[in-house]
Symmetry: C2
Subunit: 286 residues, 2 copies
DNA sequence: GCTATTAGTGTACGCTATACACTGTACGGG
DNA sequence: CCCGTACAGTGTATAGCGTACACTAATAGC
């Protein structure tokens, strides 16, 4: 902490990197004895520990959870940028600095808000074993959650500490994946495909919903996006895209939900093919 | 513009939404006559127009492009948060307010920086028609680009205007997709799967690279993430995840690149299956 | 040359996060 | 019992942000 000049808030994703992709091994994940950035460690701890061991002094009039429960509606109603320390504290009826008794920085508060915003993953069905159905259910639930809290998509996913709810979602999808019989490494990859698709598709839905709220109809949203995209028509640099815009589909138009389901099926197709192949290979060797 | 009180910067993704997914039809995209938020329209225009029709008055000592070309290294070197109006102007040797002669707001400048940061998509190969190979090449190029400019991932993808380079990437992937013979609606879905996977996988790679830059080894990154994730081990709420962490893989560990390739293959498998089915159906009906 | 237009400057404002010194409260040890 | 200590919440101050606005000075058309 000592000697740091710049605002701590800006450290969330400050340091840029030339990014040489490299080994991310399973084994290395298990080495726990390495020294870790103390600030990140602290933020992570705040998400997990119940810190209630103080005895002396006045009683706290709030809990960290109360602060989060007040801040979240603020984000829901007025967007993430409305979540300022003073706005949150005003809703609580305290001064701005009071919040710093519960969270050491806005960053830490946001971590908690995000994790609370994730909520709980869907309950597994009673009849287990249909991994494809369960993965689909998980993806639908996640998309619904992300669309319900669009401000989650405004935060850089990268480098945020992972709280209890984040881990619950992870546990949930791994639970479903366990029925595939895949190797643990493969499970990780499959998971990243499914999650990547789900988040991307949610972005699209959010983008539509947001424009809808801004103005009015889907038509207006289309006009806004189309204002960019429409430039492509007639521009010699974008012939295929222009063709895609102008060529009408010969089947009935899909709704957003149908689009999501369509893509989800393709994703699960790819996964299923690998699961089957892996199963066959496993049986052959046994 | 008149009467707006809040900082214009915060409007990028300000208005939150209850998000009822709905129709996103192809036809509605084509209705161009709808009224559009004038500010967004303005920002979009700035990305596309060459605005050089002034005649009277002193000559401009800069161009918008020069500003962007100075701002981008700033983001590369010191992260997105280092891109402040005063930092950019200082590098240019002008006062802060000078930039506002070229971009009406920081938002508009960021739009331009992002589009410049996207760069150009890969050139299509001479031998055309191998759509699977071309899609893979596109995804690899996009991942490389995203990893090289990790600050792109820090900006909310949602609702940003789409500039020329963004459209070039889109054109490029649609070009490759054209060889599939898919319906235009289907192409859109397939594209969203591939792009979602690519962006998600890039996030992971960035996260690793960033932690590497912050501290040192992959081991340290693993310790940071593991500090969160390691809590799961022994926690009764996360049995499957703990099992995944502790069960060693029986095959050699994948590198990040190998992981990406593996997932990419699964994604393309799913797409290929649909392409084949669609082709078969089309031939049957013809 | 006059004048309208425009590039860049200087100043000021409101907003942000948050450091720091303070006040008052309430428990635990004497 | 009461006093000292630890801690909750307040008040004030600061640095930095984006940007509105009034200004100066330079340019080109009439």
């Amino acid at each position: 902490m000592a000697g740091r000049k710049k605002s701590e808030l800006q450290t969330r994703s400050e340091r840029a990197v030339k990014a040489a992709p490299d080994v991310l091994s399973h084994d290395v994940m298990m080495q726990a004895s390495v020294r870790v950035d103390p600030e990140l460690r602290r933020r992570s701890q705040l998400l997990w520990d119940d810190r209630a061991q103080s005895t002396r002094g006045p009683k706290a009039s709030l809990t960290p959870d109360e602060v989060v429960q007040v801040a979240m509606p603020l984000a829901d109603e007025e967007g993430l940028s409305a979540v300022t320390m003073s706005a949150v504290s005003a809703r609580l009826g305290f001064t701005t600095m009071a919040i710093y008794r519960y969270f050491p920085s806005k960053e830490a508060l946001l971590d908690a808000i995000v994790d609370a915003g994730l909520g709980l993953p869907p309950r597994p069905p009673r009849r287990r074993g249909d991994w494809r159905g369960e993965l689909a259910q998980w993806a639908r639930a996640k998309r619904t959650m992300l669309c319900a809290r669009p401000w989650l998509a405004e935060l850089p996913f990268v480098a945020a500490p992972h709280g209890p709810n984040w881990l619950r979602w992870l546990e949930s999808v791994i639970d479903a994946l366990s029925a595939t019989g895949l190797d643990s490494a493969d499970m990780g990859e499959v998971l990243s495909i499914l999650d990547g698709y789900t988040r991307g598709a949610s972005d699209t839905a959010i983008s539509l919903a947001r424009a809808r709220a801004r103005g009015s109809s889907a038509a207006q949203w289309a006009a806004e996006v189309g204002a960019d995209l429409g430039r492509a028509i007639g521009d010699p640099r974008f012939p295929h895209f222009a063709a895609l815009l102008t060529t009408p589909s010969n089947r009935p138009t899909r709704t957003m939900d149908e689009s999501f389901e369509f893509g989800l099926s393709r994703v699960l197709d790819g996964i299923e093919r690998y699961v089957d192949a892996a199963k066959a290979e496993h049986e052959a060797s046994a």
